[in-house]
């Protein structure tokens, strides 16, 4: 199961890319765990998740081809 990950804000900078693909992702918790494993710096940045352009509340199952957006909060004005 392959999903597309979109990164926003400082996440782009931290991971050095604006999107990536991950294989074998059953749900959004698996995505955050895998990313944390690969990029330990993520431990110190909070973000919320949207799946297929809809914000989620809690863990969400994923199917092939879904898009997972990771959005940090912004404060600037």
């Amino acid at each position: 199961m392959k999903v597309e990950i979109l990164l926003f804000g400082r996440l782009t900078e931290l991971l050095g890319q604006s999107h990536l693909q991950l294989e074998d992702m059953a749900d959004t918790d698996a995505v955050t765990e895998r990313l944390l494993d690969q990029y330990p710096a993520l431990q110190h940045i909070s973000y919320e998740i949207a799946v297929n352009q809809e914000v989620i509340h809690g863990n969400k199952p994923l199917t092939d081809g879904m898009t997972v957006a990771l959005m940090p909060p912004f404060s600037g004005g």
């Binding site: 940045i45 909070s46 919320e48 914000v55 509340h57 909060p73 404060s75 600037g76 004005g77």
Partner: protein, 367 residues
């Protein structure tokens, strides 16, 4: 209600879907803008131009030279003046037919309900999380539409909260971001930098959403959040749904709202352990004192580089692992003096016998 100075708005009145009815709604509207900075300036300028009948401005800051690259309502002669008063004066000259009310004060949960309830739409152009959460909660409790906008270095977010869609659903900021980030984790414009046009673009989008919402035209971003990237011009729209009450941490009623401490909620601790601050003058003397170790806690690529002897240990690294420190007296510094205090608190806890200081105002104030 008769529209004063109607001829001024001819170009939008002749718009098929807007018309005289749309203009009348704008003239009858009372809009409060929180913050008269990077976002607030374009919001205010375009709403005054469009003929919003009553505009309120909340800001307790003064104009600084480093504001002018993006806050183009102000000029060099305004440096040192209160932004709210200065903006109100300029907007009244620009459009004498509208009423502009200045609130040169710090918005708090104690005065927010009183001020906000005088208006029928609120626009958030603030620059910090405590204010954003407070304005969101007040609007949710008072059932006031809120046009939200916020920036990072090269991206902006825009959304409309507390407005029901066709199916009666409405959302607010906490349905996306229920938990505030830790202080220092998200950099604001004065720390991370921003191209002056980005708040111009995002602020103008907020003004546009407000005009559509008030006039009942177009498709405003109700229950949606738009993310815009200035580098590649990409936009991404996200549909928003409500979280349940336990998930979103919001105060349940106005009494609970009044008891909130928004700084505390956003992780800002004013209690012990206190880190003593040193002034730029004191710092210049300490710079050459071998007893002191100077540590830059900014992230590695941040500018301007310090021209004196120092070590770099980014706050993000300190959060992961407390570093070894050779000397017993340490002065920490960052861009504006916020993150160095946080780093100092973390290090002081780990090394209770060492003395930690923070450069007040950061490296910005050194030159």
């Amino acid at each position: 209600m008769e529209i004063k100075g109607k001829a001024r708005y001819e170009r939008q009145i002749i718009l098929k879907n807007f018309g005289l009815a749309g203009q009348q709604k704008l003239f009858a509207a009372k809009v409060l803008v929180i913050g008269a900075g990077g976002l607030g300036c374009p919001i205010l300028q375009y709403l005054a131009a469009a003929g919003v009948g009553t505009l309120g401005i909340v800001d307790n800051d003064v104009v600084e030279l480093s504001n002018l690259h993006r806050q183009i309502l102000y000029s060099v002669a305004d440096i040192g003046r209160l932004k709210a008063d200065c903006a109100a004066e300029k907007l009244s000259l620009f459009n004498p037919d509208i009423q502009v009310i200045s609130y040169p004060l710090e918005l708090s949960n104690q005065n927010a309900a009183l001020i906000l309830s005088k208006f029928d739409l609120v626009i958030d152009g603030s620059d910090n999380f405590p204010t954003r959460y407070m304005v969101n909660d007040a609007c949710a409790l008072l059932n006031l539409p809120l046009v939200y906008g916020a920036l990072s270095e090269s991206e902006g977010q825009v959304a409309i909260f507390n407005v029901s869609d066709a199916s009666g659903r409405k959302v607010n900021y906490r349905d996306i971001f229920p938990n505030p980030p830790q202080p220092g984790e998200v950099l604001n414009c004065s720390e991370a930098g921003v191209l002056g046009v980005l708040p111009g673009i995002i602020g103008t989008m907020q003004a546009s959403e407000a005009i559509k919402l008030i006039s009942g035209t177009g498709e405003p971003l109700i229950n949606q959040m738009l993310i815009y990237n200035i580098n590649n011009n990409q936009t991404y729209k996200i549909n928003l749904t409500a979280a349940n009450q336990e998930q979103n941490n919001a105060p349940a009623d106005l009494d609970a709202f009044l008891r909130m401490d928004y700084s505390w909620f956003c992780g800002i601790r004013t209690g012990a352990p206190e880190i003593q601050e040193v002034s730029p003058g004191e710092f210049r003397e300490i710079m050459f004192d071998d007893e002191f170790e100077l540590i830059d806690v900014r992230e590695l690529a941040e500018l301007p580089a310090a021209s004196f002897e120092h070590v770099r240990v980014p706050l993000s690294e300190i959060r992961k692992k407390i570093p070894a420190i050779a000397k017993d007296k340490i002065v920490l510094f960052c861009h504006s003096g916020v993150r160095s205090v946080i780093a100092g608190e973390l290090l002081q806890e780990a090394y209770p016998d060492k003395e930690f200081y923070s450069l007040k105002g950061g490296i910005l104030r050194l030159n």
